[in-house]
């Protein structure tokens, strides 16, 4: 077992909506912070890092390269979100075999081996259908604050099917349902179900093995969790701070592995 002591390690998860930071000493989280991504993610990263002791940084998320290229005086390495979420989930719940991460723009389904290694993964393609962006868009369309959207959907009294997964078409479907007098909560539930259906397809492609952990920003949404549990027929673990799993995993990865990561290898070749 390599020593985990010594100077801290920072994990930074630069997502499309928010940036999370975790400072790790050993395996102990000693500090954590979060900021919205905005149009200047680099400046936001610098703000997050301000005042922190110098430490190795492991970046993940879609903005990881940005950090790699721009924070040259820091010791920055990068890993993908898939690896980061896998490491974070395995650390929090060592027996976890399936990880679902729904973030702002991406959905990822990851299957882990018993040892906690990534065995297979699926990721949505270029379209944001079925991601946090979709929910955000639809919450706005129904004029419900995003934080309350899941709870609101759970007050539905009937299940309706939304057929379209495309953000634009789903909105027009929702609008025409509203015009026909459907309760907004029922429409909201229909939209949640649409996301869950799409996510299930991805999960099934990697193979669902219990226990399942659900992370990423959308894991805050109680309706998505409930619907997932119902369709999978098993409980789904949502960690306390589901959006920190990636940053945690990145930091853990930096502490554990001294084998070169892909970006270091790439730089060497």
């Amino acid at each position: 077992m390599p020593s985990l002591d010594g100077p801290g390690i920072i994990g930074l998860d630069i997502g499309s909506r928010s940036i999370e930071l975790v400072l790790l000493e050993g395996t102990q989280v000693v500090y954590q912070a979060k900021l919205p991504t905005t149009f200047d993610p680099l400046a936001q990263c610098r703000r997050l890092l301000e005042g922190l002791p110098p430490a190795r940084i492991v970046a993940t998320g879609y903005g990881r390269k940005l950090l790699l290229e721009n924070l040259k005086h820091h010791r920055v390495t990068a890993i993908t979100e898939i690896q980061a979420y896998a490491s974070g989930a395995h650390h929090l719940y060592p027996g976890v075999r399936t990880v679902l991460d729904i973030g702002g723009q991406d959905t990822k389904a990851i299957s882990l081996s018993e040892a906690g290694k990534v065995a297979k993964f699926e990721m949505n393609d270029r379209c944001a259908a079925g991601t946090g962006k979709f929910l955000e868009f639809m919450a706005t369309a129904l004029q419900v604050p995003l934080e309350d959207f899941g709870g609101f959907a759970l007050t539905a009294d009937r299940r309706i099917q939304i057929n379209s997964m495309c953000t634009v078409f789903a909105e027009s479907e929702a609008t025409s349902l509203m015009a026909r007098g459907e309760r907004p909560a029922n429409i909201a539930l229909g939209l949640h179900l649409a996301i869950v259906q799409r996510t299930l397809a991805m999960l099934r492609r990697v193979g669902v093995v219990a226990p399942v952990l659900f992370a990423g920003g959308v894991a805050h949404n109680p309706c998505v969790q409930t619907m997932l549990e119902e369709h999978l027929g098993m409980p789904v673990i949502v960690p306390d701070q589901p959006d920190l799993v990636g940053a945690l995993g990145a930091a853990l990865h930096g502490g554990r592995s001294r084998r070169p990561t892909q970006t270091e290898t790439a730089a060497a070749s």
Binding site: Y62, I79, T80, E81, I82, Q83, D106, S113, K117, V118, A119, K120, F121, M123, D125, R126, S257, R259, T261, Q262, T263, E264, T265, A266, A268, S269
Partner: protein
């Protein structure tokens, strides 16, 4: 910027302004993807040169040959037997169809959900961008997938198209059909060129095409060594250029490049450290200048050690039996060789699954990336079977579906990097 070729391009009826745009994009792309590599083989200079003259010197050669009465035959599929074209004293070029630039033009006559390769060749023609298509006396299509089959009907409004019927199964009656199609193609070539295909000429052509396949086989054997002595990008480029360069010159140059590779291997020099994850590509062909996925892969800390594709091993694996002396025996040998191609358009196509697993094992590949063009049904569906076969063999596979546009590059990078991490840390 005027070039010495403007007059020629003009005579070929190219859209000069749009064509210049294409060459600029191509040049920039090539610079970024190819010329940034370190420790490249000296032999790659020839390929750099050929590519820089792709619409220049090589087209000039074709025009000179045409002035002497030679005919140019264009193809889109490795099923069209080049031996016959050469034996009819024609030049055969594989038309590339790997760029996005004619997409808008193509979408005027084709549905949007058509694979990028088809859109590309139709678009290049309609937008008047390809001097190869414009040089062709005959463009040979084939009934492989439905998309191509129907697109040739549309293409025929713009170019002299001839279509070969490719069977979809490999039973005795399919072989008979294919043999008949070869005879029909032979007659068509004789009509177009005015030359008769004789046994002596065919024998020579078989040897010539076999020699080119053999040198590419040699390249494939050499690159399989660890550490990889040549990048996957460079090896792909060599395969791509084999489709339109002069076969004699190409074979000689690649032979020299292989000699150099042997030196590198002796000296233990690789383009990446020995521990670098080795990946094999499998699936749809990557035509010039489609270098997107190889570039993403090799920028993610992996090296590509083989391509199970028509611009790769599927095109070079089998040679034509050279033992026949009569015309009939040689035509039979050609028919047999081509029927061994394991394109996903065939059903069933279990040979391909076996080939993929064998090849991945021989190459000691750590993983396989299956590459399908969006809207390509045959390869998309077969990808599921490929994954099953590879999983059973204990070889991880990543399935990628994409097209020629650059908009999904970031997502591709994440996927490929995660796959490489998985192999590396697993």
């Amino acid at each position: 910027m005027p070039t010495p070729y403007d007059k020629m391009w003009n005579e070929l009826n190219l859209d000069l302004a749009a064509h210049e745009g294409l060459l600029q994009v191509l040049g920039k792309f090539y610079g970024d993807i190819y010329l940034t590599q370190e420790g490249r083989l000296k032999g790659m200079e020839y390929l750099d040169f050929v590519l820089s003259e792709v619409h220049g010197l090589r087209i000039k050669e074709l025009q000179e040959a045409k002035a002497q009465g030679k005919k140019v035959i264009g193809t889109f599929c490795v099923f069209v037997p080049e031996e016959l074209s050469l034996a009819a004293d024609a030049i055969q070029v594989g038309l590339c169809a790997g760029a996005e630039i004619g997409k808008e033009a193509a979408e005027k006559v084709l549905p949007r959900n058509t694979c990028a390769l088809i859109k590309s060749f139709v678009g290049f023609k309609i937008a008047r961008l390809c001097p190869y298509i414009e040089s062709c006396d005959l463009v040979v299509g084939e009934t492989t997938c439905d998309g191509k089959k129907k697109a040739y009907e549309i293409f025929a409004d713009y170019a002299p198209v001839y279509v070969m019927e490719i069977p979809q199964m490999k039973q005795a009656c399919d072989r008979d059909l294919w043999k008949a199609e070869i005879m029909r193609f032979k007659a068509e070539l004789e009509r177009v060129t005015g030359n008769t295909i004789t046994a002596a000429r065919l024998k020579e052509a078989i040897k010539l095409v076999n020699a080119r396949r053999a040198v590419l086989q040699r390249l494939n054997r050499l690159r399989a060594v660890a550490p990889a002595p040549i990048s996957g990008r460079d090896a792909l480029l060599i395969n791509q250029i084999s489709f339109y360069d002069d076969p004699v010159r190409f074979t000689q140059k690649i032979g020299e490049l292989c000699d150099e590779l042997e030196q590198k291997i002796k000296a233990g020099q690789g383009v990446a450290p020995a521990a670098t994850p080795r990946l094999m590509l499998s699936g749809c062909p990557m035509a010039v200048p489609n270098w997107k996925l190889p570039f993403v892969v090799e920028s993610s800390g992996a090296v590509i050690v083989g391509e199970e594709s028509c611009i790769g091993a599927r095109n070079t694996r089998d040679l034509v039996d050279e033992s026949g002396d009569t015309l009939e025996a040689m035509l039979e040998a050609i028919a047999l060789r081509y029927m061994r191609i394991d394109c996903a358009c065939f059903t069933p196509n279990t040979e391909r699954l076996e080939h993929i697993v064998d090849m991945a094992r021989d190459l000691k590949a750590d993983g396989v990336i299956h590459y399908g063009l969006s809207f390509c049904q045959p390869y998309a569906i077969e990808a599921f079977k490929v994954e099953k076969a590879l999983t059973a063999a204990g070889i991880p596979m990543l399935s990628i579906e994409t097209d020629y546009s650059m908009e999904d590059v970031e997502q591709l990078k994440t996927r490929v990097e995660a796959f490489v991490e998985m192999l590396h840390l697993g």
